[in-house]
Subunit: 321 residues, 2 copies
């Protein structure tokens, strides 16, 4: 049994899990709050404690554990294992030696990777990307992250920044994005952008079940709620998903003409909408891509859910040895 630890540092929670690489499954996992306002030393200490607890609670001989992979939501120095810029955490995470600190604490090799690249690698190795040599993965939630596999290898680009597929410009005259650019796919089709389409419909007084489901409270309008309305046959809600799929499908079309991935994996909270989102993505690709044989390309949802990142980081750690 070859076991690696996958750990994800998120803005809200830290997750850690033991992954059996032969059985391709998570043996034991747990999470803790990030509490990043307490500072990075405190966060790193609790990450070390959490990983130690996961190992001890699993009952697995510590000698079987070969390494630890740690993902973080931002820009990292992969070689040094330092964080460079983590916009979703409080305080300065500029050049924090997260990898070396945990490695010393745990007495295990630690390797790092951006969180969405970890999801991509997890889905590619164990999930929706299995069996193809090239893949693009989108994680659609508060933002839109992504990752790219070409010729069987996760593409890192410069410092692991390849795969920022949410920041493709799909409208040269489009709205401001959180990244500083204008017209990014993320500005059109992230969870908040989809929710805002529902808010607007209600504000406009359009006839839609979204208002009732949200009990007339704009704060309660989420992609999940809009999907619920759409599944009840609400035309406005269905149109919102068609629009979201058209935006995402345009970005996916751009990825297809660039490197021709055979599998497009849509993960993250918004992927729960299923065919409400996937069908308009597929239709958009057919309208926009003419040179690539589309019958060889599948658009699917992620298969690993919340475990994708942990499994991806265990895989990443195993690839570094």
């Amino acid at each position: 049994m070859t076991v690696f630890v996958g750990c994800d540092l998120g803005g809200t929670n830290i997750k850690a899990g033991l992954v059996d690489m032969d059985q391709m499954k998570v043996l034991h996992a747990k999470s803790a709050e990030t509490l990043s306002h307490k500072g990075h030393d405190d966060v790193m200490r609790r990450m070390g404690t959490l990983i130690t607890e996961v190992i001890e609670e699993s009952g697995i001989d510590r000698g079987r554990i070969k390494g630890v992979g740690v993902s973080a939501p931002g820009v990292l120095d992969l070689e040094k294992g330092h964080t460079l810029f983590l916009p979703n955490l409080y305080g300065q995470w500029r050049d924090v030696p997260l990898g070396p600190t945990l490695s010393k604490y745990l007495n295990l090799p630690v390797s790092m990777l951006n969180d969405v690249r970890a999801i991509t690698l997890g889905e590619y190795t164990f999930g929706a990307g299995k069996g193809v040599e090239s893949m693009a993965c989108y994680a659609i939630g508060t933002g839109i992250g992504g990752g790219v596999v070409v010729n069987g290898q996760l593409v890192l680009g410069i410092g692991g920044t390849a795969g920022e597929l949410g920041h493709m410009t799909i409208d040269i005259n489009g709205p401001r994005c959180g990244c500083g650019n204008y017209g990014c796919m993320e500005a059109f089709a992230s969870a908040p952008a989809i929710a805002s389409m529902g808010v607007k419909a209600v504000q406009q007084g359009l006839t839609t079940k979204i208002a009732d489901l949200a009990e007339q409270d704009l704060n309660k309008i989420t992609p999940e709620l809009i999907a619920q309305a759409a599944n009840m046959g609400d035309e406005i809600a269905n149109e919102i998903w068609r629009n979201a799929g058209s935006y995402i499908g345009t970005g996916v079309s751009n990825v297809i003409v660039t490197f021709g991935p055979k599998r497009i994996v849509i993960s993250g909270g918004v992927a729960a909408a299923g065919d409400l989102l996937l069908e308009p993505i597929r239709e958009t690709i057919k309208k926009r891509v003419f040179i690539v044989p589309l019958e060889e390309i599948e658009v699917v949802t992620g298969a690993l859910g919340n475990e994708a990142g942990i499994m991806g980081m265990a895989t990443w750690a195993s690839l570094q040895l």
Copy 2:
């Protein structure tokens, strides 16, 4: 001395050249008219004759020649060496056995590749892409083609269709493109699109040297002529190049967030504009890309000019052995 033949089947001309792979240079090359209206059997016969002539005229021992690479402008079946769709040639080129026919005629192994992927491979191996592990190449002329190198390998995608970088949507509401899509970069910044910006300026009666240089004849307005006007200080002409660079730079930004190439190579006739085009591309990238460290990315013009395709196809042939 290891010698391969590179051959390019174009809409107007066929080119063939002998490439010394050790010295990295074209030893001898010549071209002939394509005359595709005479049918594919005739075209293939003349390709065979042209390649035979190049070999004989060079005086190089035929035994030294290890293989032939043939590029064509369209979609190919790379495994069979058949053409599938060549939109710039007359008649049906659907499933024409170009590779096997030439191989039999020449008694040499023949491998095939799309023409712009050939330019990409040539520039990567011998030209502007030397020394980096990832690169994107644009060939900007009548259309905009491209190619992509990741981790030192030309990315083929499905049937060699990866790298169609001119067909990225940069404006979801944009104008019709020749490919059938709307809002492609090619629809904004190909040579005809750039020329049409000059035509429009003259038609509008704007004060610009373009009109005089073209002797008031709209048919004479080309990117070269607009570059000439811009280099004379003409403000309208400079603005046209800034616009073209902004469109191309948006597409390049999308490629950068996707896989982070360290070198962006701009080739094709339009690249002759040099910094008139490259500077606004660089400025646009700075405005649009925030997550990738741009100081590690260079935007340069191609180094091999018209020889890029021949050198790329010789390289491709050598990689197939």
